[in-house]
Assembly symmetry: D2
Homo-oligomer: 337 residues x 4
């Protein structure tokens, strides 16, 4: 971290800042120019003390010279992380498509959907048993019964399960049934939940918060890695902007940006990101073209009967058509579906 | 909810929509014009089934004719809710100022700060014992020890305590020490936590999420009321926008907007909202002028020593000056501090 | 447009609303339910009078049943518009890449760049002679001299020219040299300029404003078409959001959304949209994958010498590599570069 | 401007950067630490060459140590600028309220409104003769006839006129009738228009763009001052955010922020900023409380008959009530209306 002092700082100001730097266990490195004085703060995690220096009268600007995250960074680990889920290798040349209904509704519907998506080339089943809903009066999910249905799909059709966990106390239960634990966008900064899934030994798919910067997103992943769980998949799912023609604004720019900053695999969820069925296939193709390692796609055989998110679910035939197009796009960028 | 069908809808389309309406337990009310057909969906909570109709091919537009929340709405309860905290009446003519450090650091510092703010006219002490921090390497709060220090302030100086709870399992503990339970912005849609504090009998201060619309904010409050706890205070604390000159964009427009839509009292937290010490007094005055029932203000005797949020904490003398100005503004709008 | 009246509206309220509808030249269509009264406002451009009804006390909600734009809409013209520029057909199966420096700097540099991009497969040259710059002290462009250099490229290398016009008085001059007139993002709602380019007979590339909704974007295009110029190309170039890891947030969701709403061809400008060189190729591939009809890409042989936007300009070898990848992606989605 | 080089920069890298600094006419100031090398770029307007250094491979971070604007800055001129309009002193202790209809519609209506607002204490008349409208089919203003009606108000009632100019060619005409020339939000970065009004000798009210940062807002003002016109009033009028409960998000934080950064007077336009009549008085009071030097308020005797923006116009009796409340608030913060 580099501190630029205000133009007319005195010797006393400089001494005060240096004293504080030493107090906090760092080493100051002073560079006195004719117009400005610059002080480097040398030592690990110095940037975390940014607030303290920002509070000092003599300090005009602070330049962070290192990232606030460490374990998730490309500097820490140069090669792409590959997360193993059964036989699947997430973050490898193969692009993994996870599909299924927004929420698990009935066993029959789930089985129908699972067969359809498997047949079209999806490699994982997704579906919510615990549903975070804006309204207390909306369907809140089947709970453990839903988890059991999902587990049945895995056993009978061989599709690994990805499903959401909403709070610390559910982590044990969900872990017993799921292959990948999902942390939803609204919980991206539920730090206790992040710490908890950092302690288990299951892959975690972490969704970006609706208004989280990429840096904050990576910081939340850092929480999980810092507890010992390195199997983290990041998932872009749309951010909040002023645009109302789409439900959210799927931010595909995050894909190359995260790929540069971090070694972790990146998924994209266009169903939630755009929220309009007709735009989902186009955005899936775009996601693959710009480097995504996998996709989350909502598919429902009868969207008008869905308990949630019907308007953004693909019909089976739409999904099937898209999958064959995705294969070509993947091949065009040197990947495989 | 009113459904506007697509221009060329057939008799069959209309029948299909009406069948679905009845299936869901509502009554259809058809109005067939020369150019468009409009169908009203009559029945309680019809709006919650919006997704289902949005998924139907024949439906072009949906007009919600009722709000998705109920208990928090002005229609449900016409008069302002007054939340009682000891002798304080939040939501009455008196504007309540809660002040204190961002996080509880040492007992001595807390006592010093508490004396200072009480002397200037603050009526409650605020301070975090459990701190949601973006970085896993940053100070995470003193935990129960911090709660005890806060409780000491209440016992010795008579200032009721407002402090944050971060997860379901902390609710019992924090309730024993605090007078008002705070739900932070990042937990505004932690629905399990909302349900939990809905079951206790302590006032809850709910902060608006960084990218939550006012409607979503009220829906989160509805979660708490729907569990039986009607003592909810809403708190505007800044939203995410493109502007970088301030840390967030304090959205004071939310004050008159919420006042119109809901009967619940509204607080404003300019310290987090703007994040720049020099702008806090101006925004506190603005908040009072536009109808806020209370303020949350960070005060720290030595901001450059604060463990968190130093740059936005007021110095004691700044706070004192501001409080005397606030008294005049409050009087100008028929209120009292 | 459908008006939903407030629950307790009286006969007198209804009469008042109907009287106003007739006054404005429309026909009212009343549907009186038990709980609510709905009134359709029938007639062309009724939606433009929305404000008037919103101002009436008895009106609770307004549902627009038609779009506010007409000539640009898919309903008005079902088939894709193909804009002809010399031999190029923009909006056809061929995807057109326009490349070049941000601003025209020297003739030599422009010629070098033009040769490079032509060799890699670009079909048009782009470059600014008049530059809208945030700072009055920054390089404002070469003016007519720059236009002449661009025209030279066309004459000698056969690449049609696309360049920006900043105000009404420049339209004549720029038209003499350019093949496509560009309206910049900051001028998207410069309505006099839109009307002016609507009167000329040259194709116009209209960039989306930094905070323009897709509907507003189409309304601005409608200004041009309504003056008689139907050769309009829309260009997504990134919107303003809270994210700071990229310069803007390139909103690729706009591509399928506009394609559904309008018949006009859509370009994407990832250079300005992300503003970081390393992310440009990925976003170009994504743009092609999701249906863009063309790309605008900044290329500069010596970005560190560029007068503007160096950090987002591709190096010639990066551009060349990207173009060969783009060919594969285009093929994968049934297009051609 | 301070350049922080990448950790492993070589002697050759450093030399290359220093060479470029000298080439551009600046002086390098090197400070070589054990871990990082920092180079100061010394000289006027260095920050304008930021892009060039950002394009260099060896440069990791750039810290701007001076603002990109000069004439508008508090550093350049310490005392508040007072803009004189007839007898009015804008930026003094007196807070000036400009009121009137959104657009000038008929002479009679304008006279009625003018009398009403004058009677309640407004000191200026506002109203649009040239209207920037999103739709080409909407009312575009009365043009010169509207200007004449406004001028009549000035002559007969003594209220100075503030009205909008939409393009360079209108500046002469509007100047003949208006006392203050308004540049609308959509033209904030119409740089040719800014230069043009910088050359006249009339006060200019510059509205903030819908997605303009405060820095960009000040840069646009700098354009006007740099041409010689120092009589600029800045006007906050709401920014684009995700919130839909209000038309825009009035950003009052901009008031103290601009007051700190600049010496220019600041107006606030809550009518456009919130766009909902019922919230306008609260936001006017808040604007005065946080330091605004003036207000722009839409008033219309028959909002349901207004050609534009009826839903946000105050009724005469609402305006009158508000003005008397504003007087108290102004007094509470040491100002006067």
């Amino acid at each position: 971290m580099i501190l630029t002092l205000k133009p007319k700082s005195t010797k006393k100001d400089i001494d005060l800042v240096c004293k504080k730097i030493k107090e906090l266990g760092f080493k100051p490195h002073i560079s006195q120019g004719k117009e400005v004085t610059i002080i480097g703060v040398i030592g690990p995690h110095a940037i975390l003390k940014k607030d303290i220096f920002e509070s000092m009268d003599a300090v005009a600007f602070i330049t962070p010279i290192s990232k606030p995250y460490k374990l998730v960074s490309r500097e820490f680990k140069k090669n792409d992380t590959v997360v193993k889920v059964g036989n699947l290798q997430i973050g490898s040349r193969n692009i993994i498509v996870a599909a299924g209904p927004c929420s698990v509704e009935t066993e029959e519907l789930l089985v129908t959907t699972a067969k359809v998506i498997k047949n079209s080339g999806a490699k994982m089943i997704r579906g919510g048993a615990f549903k975070p809903r804006t309204s207390p009066y909306a369907f809140q999910g089947l709970g453990e019964k839903g988890l059991k249905y999902l587990y049945g799909i895995k056993k009978n059709l061989g599709l690994p399960v990805i499903t959401e966990v909403m709070n610390v106390s559910q982590v044990g239960l969900v872990s017993r049934y799921a292959d990948v634990i999902q942390i939803g966008a609204r919980n991206m900064q539920n730090f206790d939940l992040l710490k908890k899934v950092g302690k288990i030994r299951k892959p975690v798919l972490l969704k970006r918060g609706l208004s989280a910067t990429i840096e904050e997103f990576l910081m939340s992943a850092e929480y999980i890695l810092s507890e010992g769980n390195y199997d983290v998949i990041l998932c872009e799912r749309g951010i909040r902007t002023f645009e109302t023609a789409t439900r959210f604004t799927l931010d595909l720019n995050a894909v190359p940006a995260i790929k540069k900053l971090s070694h972790l695999p990146v998924f994209v969820d266009p169903s939630h990101g755009v929220g309009v069925r007709d735009y989902v296939p186009a955005m899936c193709k775009a996601a693959v073209a710009c480097g995504a390692d996998g996709l989350m796609v909502e598919v429902h055989p009868h969207p008008e009967k869905a308990f949630s998110d019907g308007p953004q679910s693909l019909l089976p035939q739409q999904f099937d058509k898209m999958m064959s197009e995705l294969k070509s796009v993947a091949k065009a960028v040197g990947r495989k579906i």
